[in-house]
């Protein structure tokens, strides 16, 4: 079980080479297959995830949630997807058509790119990048542009306000997010995510870096535009924010991308702080799924409990609390490493 997927990949490469393909072409085809599998998994996963969020939020509120289609309403999301696909695609006449139409595509592409570096098990990743963490952070910050495109292209005051808010918010929270991960990088000595997982062989980084863990969690919530930091949407205030003018599948793509981001960020959290795919008894790929879903459930829990924070508080919280704390954490980590080396522990 442990090497199920890696063995499959090796077998596939071997089979292609016996067909007479050069090893380079076999690798390229394998990469394509991996991408197709990832996109399929993302889509399926999100269908489950949307259902799960609706169900979990319902349980928090003593409701039943979707319960009509299929057992426990599991096919509800599929029905919703069909509905969204068949809906009329409305493009506002005043909209900047090109920007308006490309924004959702850009958003989803950026979100899917994040999966490139996340190790989904032992030796299971699309590309084993040496600067995997850096790639993840830089890719994650690109989604800001998509939201700005959506807000600007819609030519709507609500959309623009939502977009401007999201840009301010995401740029502010990018910094504590990166800083909080820096402590982990300092301990493990690598930006490669597989190396970071390997470094947690004995002890998870959540125990070594609790402050960084909390900072990352808060900053990630803001990066994901999830409650209580869902400023860009803020449907009670901005009537949907940057997504106000979108309909049908274009809107659904935003929705899809948000959940894709959620899974990616949760998976990174599991990888960096919760020991990644490491765990006893079960195969590694199952462990990362369990840990990711655990983190996602905490995200749900937070969202369905807290009220939305105010924009100016959000900004001051980032610059006045999170950035100094994460900087202090780096200092503390550095001092700790120096202390350990001086004591000869590592």
């Amino acid at each position: 079980m442990e090497h199920l997927f890696t063995n499959l990949a090796t077998a596939l490469t071997g089979w292609m080479i016996t067909l007479g393909l050069s090893p380079v072409w076999a690798d390229v085809i394998l990469l394509l297959v991996k991408w197709i599998i990832i996109i399929t998994i993302i889509t399926l996963n999100i269908i489950i995830l949307i259902w799960l969020e609706r169900k979990v939020s319902a349980f928090f509120q003593e409701r039943l949630g979707p319960n009509r289609l299929g057992p426990f309403g599991i096919f509800q999301t599929i029905a919703d997807a069909i509905k969204l696909l068949t809906k009329e695609d409305i493009v506002p006449s005043a909209a900047d058509k090109l920007i308006f139409k490309t924004a959702p595509m850009f958003f989803i592409v950026v979100a899917v790119m994040l999966y490139t570096v996340i190790p989904m098990g032992q030796g299971m990743e699309v590309i084993n990048l040496n600067i995997g963490l850096l790639f993840f952070i830089s890719m994650g910050s690109l989604s800001t542009i998509a939201l700005l495109m959506a807000g600007w292209g819609s030519d709507n005051k609500w959309s623009l306000m939502g977009a401007v808010r999201s840009v301010a918010q995401m740029i502010s929270y990018e910094i504590p997010l990166a800083f909080s991960l820096l402590g982990v990088v300092m301990i493990s000595g690598s930006l490669n995510l597989q190396d970071i997982v390997a470094a947690q062989d004995n002890i998870w980084f959540v125990i070594l870096q609790p402050i960084a863990f909390l900072t990352y969690f808060i900053a990630a919530t803001a990066e994901l535009n999830r409650g209580p930091f869902d400023m860009p949407e803020a449907e009670q205030e901005l009537t949907g924010g940057a997504y106000t003018e979108y309909t049908g599948m274009r809107w659904a793509l935003f929705f899809l991308a948000e959940y894709t981001n959620l899974v990616a960020v949760s998976a990174l959290m599991a990888t960096v702080f919760l020991g990644g795919w490491q765990g006893p008894w079960l195969p590694s790929w199952l462990w990362i799924i369990i840990k990711t879903y655990g983190v996602i459930l905490v995200f749900f829990w937070v969202k369905w409990t807290f009220p939305r924070i105010r924009m100016d508080h959000l900004m001051s919280f980032s610059w006045k609390v999170l950035v100094p704390v994460s900087l202090g954490n780096i200092l503390l980590t550095g001092a700790g490493i120096y202390f350990c080396q001086w004591m000869g522990w590592c």
């Binding site: 509120q61 003593e62 306000m161 009220p307 939305r308 924070i309 924009m311």
Partner: protein, 366 residues
């Protein structure tokens, strides 16, 4: 300070958090609100004019549609006004039942205010808990009046019918659970740091301004004036009950919010006393089928509705219909301070202020 172009944002009439058909046009400088222009009239149904073409009894169901979230309070106000006009004595038992229904309506209205504030500020779960508890009041209304929202139970001269057997246990268990509900709302929302940050110091309405604008109800009490018509000018049999008027001094959104939660407890106390002292007897006075007041008589009667001072001014010309009926709607007057409390705040404060001023558009537009 940096100055950008001024632009207007129309919050409403179709907007998720405008509590009906409110249209607040925000004049904004970036995220800072310069001014708010309140446009009213989207729910105008000419209720006052309808009153002139309906008999005194026929108009009773229409009054429930003024403040549909506290359905028994506007009906009570109207019926008491007509009784005052015609000199009708209401039986003792009916008076007690009316008190119970009125206070239940007040709780129902405050629970809507609490729930709506919850959802407006993004705490969706708060909405659900508030609505869940309000459902029990709706069931009690269904028991007595037969309808959940617009129960049409209070009549001129008493109430529609005597309370059913299952009424008292249901009300008793609800009253017993009020402290638990208050704890839950406080735990989920009031004590929350994000909640406090969004409400504290937001939309401050000073004592002087509140008096100047004629603000009444919980909004006035939050500004530091413990004025409640139930105490100041007791109507019905309110003078027999022992209860407190919660008041705060800050006048900000958090105070307005807290006042409403505290009033749940006070209403619970009144209901408990009414249940304990409920006498036996008739529930409806013997009144003629056609009610006629003397020509030229007029009456103004006011009650403490969930939103503030709700007054009815009735002029009679001797016929069986009012010659003129005017409603002094608290929501209309309370809404007029919206620009005042919003100025200088950020856009999100507008939503907080609408939610905590708790207007009901059916009443303010009439």
């Amino acid at each position: 300070m940096m100055q950008s172009d001024i632009y207007n944002v129309n919050v409403g009439p179709i907007h998720p958090s405008t509590h009906g058909g409110l249209h607040a046009e925000a004049v904004m400088d970036g995220e800072i609100i310069q001014d708010v222009i309140v446009h009213l009239g989207y729910v105008h149904r000419s209720v006052e004019k309808i009153a002139e073409s309906k008999t005194y009894q026929q108009f009773v169901p229409y009054t429930a549609r003024l403040d549909y979230l506290a359905t028994n309070l506007p009906v009570l106000g109207y019926c008491q006004a007509v009784e005052k006009l015609l000199g009708i004595e209401v039986p003792e038992r009916a008076e007690y039942i009316r008190i119970i229904m009125a206070e239940l309506s007040r709780i129902a209205s405050h629970q809507i205010a609490i729930s709506a504030t919850g959802i407006d500020l993004g705490a969706t779960t708060g909405l659900m808990y508030g609505m869940r508890d309000r459902e029990r009041i709706m069931n009690i209304f269904e028991m007595t009046g037969g309808q959940r929202l617009l129960s049409s139970y209070i009549r001129i001269g008493g109430v529609g019918a005597d309370i059913p057997d299952e009424f008292i246990p249901a009300v008793q268990s609800f009253v017993n659970d009020i402290p638990k509900m208050m704890d839950e709302y406080n735990g989920l929302m009031t004590g929350n740091e994000i909640w406090e940050a969004r409400m504290k110091g937001v939309g401050i309405l000073s004592k002087e301004d509140a008096v100047k604008y004629g603000v009444t109800g919980p909004n006035l009490r939050a500004s530091g004036i413990a004025y409640d018509i139930r105490k100041a000018e007791p109507y019905g049999i309110y003078d027999r009950f022992d209860f407190d008027i919660p008041a705060r001094s800050g006048g900000d959104s958090l105070d307005r919010w807290n006042i409403r939660i505290e009033e749940l407890g006070e209403s619970g106390r009144i209901i408990q006393q009414a249940l304990d002292n409920l006498p036996e007897g008739e529930v409806k006075a013997k009144i003629p089928k056609v009610l006629k007041a003397e020509a030229g008589t007029e009456v103004y009667h006011r009650i403490e509705s969930a939103k503030g001072e709700l007054g009815y001014y009735i002029v009679s010309d001797g016929g069986n219909k009012p010659y003129r009926l005017h409603v002094r709607a608290p929501s209309f007057i309370n809404l007029m301070v919206l620009p005042l409390v919003c100025r200088g705040g950020v856009f999100q404060d507008l939503i907080t202020n609408i939610a905590t001023l708790d207007p009901i558009l059916g009443e303010s537009d009439r």
